[in-house]
């Protein structure tokens, strides 16, 4: 009888903690982009993205500040902010979406391929996108990653004709985040 009660308590505690650990969060999501044009390779990193994943609804949100992207060359960073992203007008880029595949994600400690669909907002322009990603549960943490390509013109980012050779029309974006349970 005692053992039944004790194991019952353990099961109860176990189920409570799994219910609690449905939402995960980080404020140090790493977001990078990379583009290679005939003339120039452009690369920038941002280590202060926020990411929230709610596994009970399979929902996921990302946000980054445009001015927090760091380039190797100060001039590129200036042009990126002032001429292309107009970051004084549109300081953030966001993504809000849903894990559509698998339909019911299992919280198991091995890498799982997922498909995420949602709305990306860059430069004040909203677009529906679908991107592949990976999710891995380890202990009480979860890491998510994704690499996908966006076309600059989809977000109404204009590149002047003189520098068109220097800037790629498509940019590869990489996201990596290690999330902790939200308390």
């Amino acid at each position: 009888m005692k053992t039944i009660i004790i194991s019952g308590i353990f099961i109860l505690i176990g189920s409570i903690s799994t219910v609690e650990a449905q939402k995960y969060f980080t404020r140090e999501a790493q977001v990078s982009f990379f583009s290679e044009a005939p003339m120039e390779k452009i690369e920038a990193h941002n280590g202060t993205g926020t990411c929230v994943v709610d596994f009970s609804q399979q929902r996921m949100e990302f946000a980054v500040l445009i001015k927090a992207f760091q380039f190797e060359k100060a001039l590129m960073q200036e042009h990126f902010n002032e001429n292309y992203m107009e970051s004084h007008k549109f300081p953030k880029a966001t993504f809000k979406g849903q894990i559509i595949e698998p339909e019911n994600i299992e919280m198991k400690p091995e890498a799982q391929d997922v498909q995420v669909k949602g709305t990306m907002t860059i430069h004040g322009v909203e677009r529906e996108i679908t991107a592949p990603g990976k999710i891995l549960f380890t202990g009480d943490k979860v890491s998510v990653s994704s690499t996908f390509v966006v076309a600059v013109k989809d977000y109404e980012i204009e590149i002047p004709a003189v520098v068109r050779e220097n800037i790629a029309k498509e940019v590869e974006i990489t996201v990596e985040a290690n999330l902790e349970p939200l308390k």
Partner: protein
Amino acid sequence: MKIRNVLIILLVAVVIGGIIGYKQYNKPHRDLMSEKVSAQMTAQELFSAYEEDESQANEQYLDEMVEITGTIERVNIEQEKSTLQLQTEDMMAGIICEFEAGALKNIPAEGEKITVRGICTGKLMDVVLVRCIIMNS
């Protein structure tokens, strides 16, 4: 004779233009140690400014170098970029200070009071400062 002079002038102009262009292309990032501070305040004051009116705060502080004093709530050391989070009255949010690789020489402890310079990049959940430097200690 005249043509030669014109050619020399042209050549000099091209060389000077090239040097200016090259320097411009390789110009350094902002040096926060020599730049003038545009605002000095506490972590709470900067956070409140953003809570009250984000677009107004952006107009005032976005891309500006600010000097912020506050208490460290959390230290996150990474190989590349490390971050410190400064406390505010909000339980869930604060000021995030990001340091470039190697910029955080002495790692401060949680609970320590520090003054940090950084470039304000706006607010997500927290207000984010980048390219930070610790001014005291």
